[in-house]
């Protein structure tokens, strides 16, 4: 079973993403802040990381940069999930080391297709 790490501080969103992914047969690891997200990523080496950008303390950009420093996580795709959608956001996430970019709100109908692209 493929493992997906979700780093997201909003409970409802975390539950929503977990629910869809588990129903579609993925294993989900949850992290509610950037620091524990990095620890869990190193410990578990997931197949994909879904990363919220607006996180308290350590924001998504910093988390992505931190993750990319880890040798073992070098090839793991990181997808930024953000509701910012401002000028330059996409570029900033990619610069920070993310593989892809998804805008909130997510559409459950197309969400799994998008996830499959990165796996």
């Amino acid at each position: 079973m493929k493992k997906i790490l979700i780093i997201e501080d909003n409970e409802q969103n975390l539950y929503l993403l977990t629910f869809i992914l588990e129903k579609n047969g993925y294993g989900v690891i949850q992290a509610r802040d950037g620091r524990s997200g990095i620890e869990l990523a190193i410990k578990n080496i997931p197949d994909l990381i879904l990363l919220d950008i607006q996180l308290p303390v350590l924001d998504g950009y910093a988390v992505a940069r931190e993750l990319r420093k880890q040798q073992a996580l070098y090839d793991v795709p990181i997808v930024a999930v953000t509701s910012y959608a401002m000028t330059g956001d996409r570029e900033r996430t990619l610069e920070a080391g993310c593989t892809g970019y998804m805008e909130k709100p997510i559409d459950p109908l197309t969400f799994m297709e998008k996830i499959a692209q990165y796996l």
Binding site: N10, L16, I20, S83, Y84, M86, G88, P105, I106, P108
Partner: protein, 544 residues
Amino acid sequence: MVLVIIFLLLFGTASSEAVNRILTVGLYENSPKVFTDENGKPSGIFIDIIAYTAGKEGWELKYVPGTWDEGLSRLEKGEIDIMPDVAYSAEREKKYSFNKVQVLSSWYQAYARKGSGIHSILDLNGKRIIVLKKSVQQEAFNRFSSGFGLNMDIVSVSDYKTMFEMLSMGEADAGITNQFYGSVHARKYGLADTAIVFAPSSLFFATKRNTNVNLLNAIDRDLAELKKDTGSLYYHSLRKWTSEEIPFSIPSWLKFIVLAAGAGLLLSMGGSFILKHQVNVRTRELKEINAEMEQRIVERTAELAEAMERAQDADRLKSAFLATMSHELRTPLNSIIGFTGIMLQGLAGPLNNEQTRQLSMVQNSASHLLSLINDILDISKIEAGQLETRSEPFDMREAIESSLRTVMPQAEKKGLPLEAVIASDVGMLKSDRRRIEQILINLMGNAVKFTDKGTIRVECRTENGWLVTAVSDTGIGIESREMEKLFLPFRQIDTGLARRHEGTGLGLSICKRLVEMLGGTIGVESEIGKGSTFTFWLPLQLNT
């Protein structure tokens, strides 16, 4: 017989008009750009230019003196043909037509009594400020100063002379004038410039909108010619009117030379020595003025950098606010759209028909709400100057096809076929794919929304360096009086059929702004009951 007379009359008036056209020109006091000299003769840079063109074209000029706002009102009412020295603004373009070649560029600057202690914008707090009535400066000044939270007593007067007189008498603390008037007259009134500089503007000749176009064209022709040659009347006029008034009289020179010549070699040598000395004195004076100017430029640049930084701070605040709003509004929708989607997919267990129907309604409303939020955020971003476009190569065909896929479900629901006719030479384009798709989806979405039967058709072709894309429908059409308002924000609201169709009424104004940001234009043709065609032109080759 009668016919012949009428013919003669017509012929007579037509020819006399062509030979000796009388042109009425608004004259007001804004030296050195436009003013009446001590002999009562109209003078100034703008007057020199119009007189030049009039001379060439054989027009007779008739000046109508008055204040600035009288001049503008006369122009609006068609009582005069042309006004010199009108700063361009989008608002004014609705009422006036401008010539195209910029005559002068200027900026506004605050002047105060020497030693007043007024240096920067913050020093204006609690002060009495004079502005020119009905000028763009008042609005520009309000805009410029509003960010600083100042409390000022604003007085408006009808000419700069009154303004400077009031300032020198101490009836007010500072006055806003243009750099031309200020630099030439401040000294005389014991006033000095301050570091409060704002709103660079372009100055033109203006006529009542869509009248006297030939006149403007003739001015443009001459002006373009004059600006090419640094020895031309244009530069001569600039130098003549903007140089500072240093007491330096040529007649005394001439007298001196004549005398010197008469008195023989010795005297002439002495004369030439004195002359040389005078020249040296002048040169020194000029050098001093020059050094002073340079010093001022250095100071001014520093002040401007500071003002710029403050403006950028305000800008950052605006961006942060928009980003936060965007996040805060979308987060709850993430739950609503996400969970209704999950339930409708049956992931949380089976639903009965009624539950499916009701949840679909929640889903439709939520996605509608999302598109409204996106529209509002888009227009706010555009207004705040936060929306940037990219320029990357992509396949226009793919963009059209992808937009068609997005609109397809809406069209199918109404049983409307969607057609695309893409010319074979349409291919790669360097522009902003996401924004072009947004425009296409918006236009097609509107087409579907306002059409009950027939076809929605997208056509795309290239034409003289432009990519032309048209979205046509066979819908209700648009009344001609509504057409011009169509691209203004919030317009759906005041049309009769408005509330039958959902939407913010922002879509078309967003489309227009996006097309313009991408270097293009958008237009519409429509016939009531037959349908509408929205066409936008994008440059095939972006200059930037």
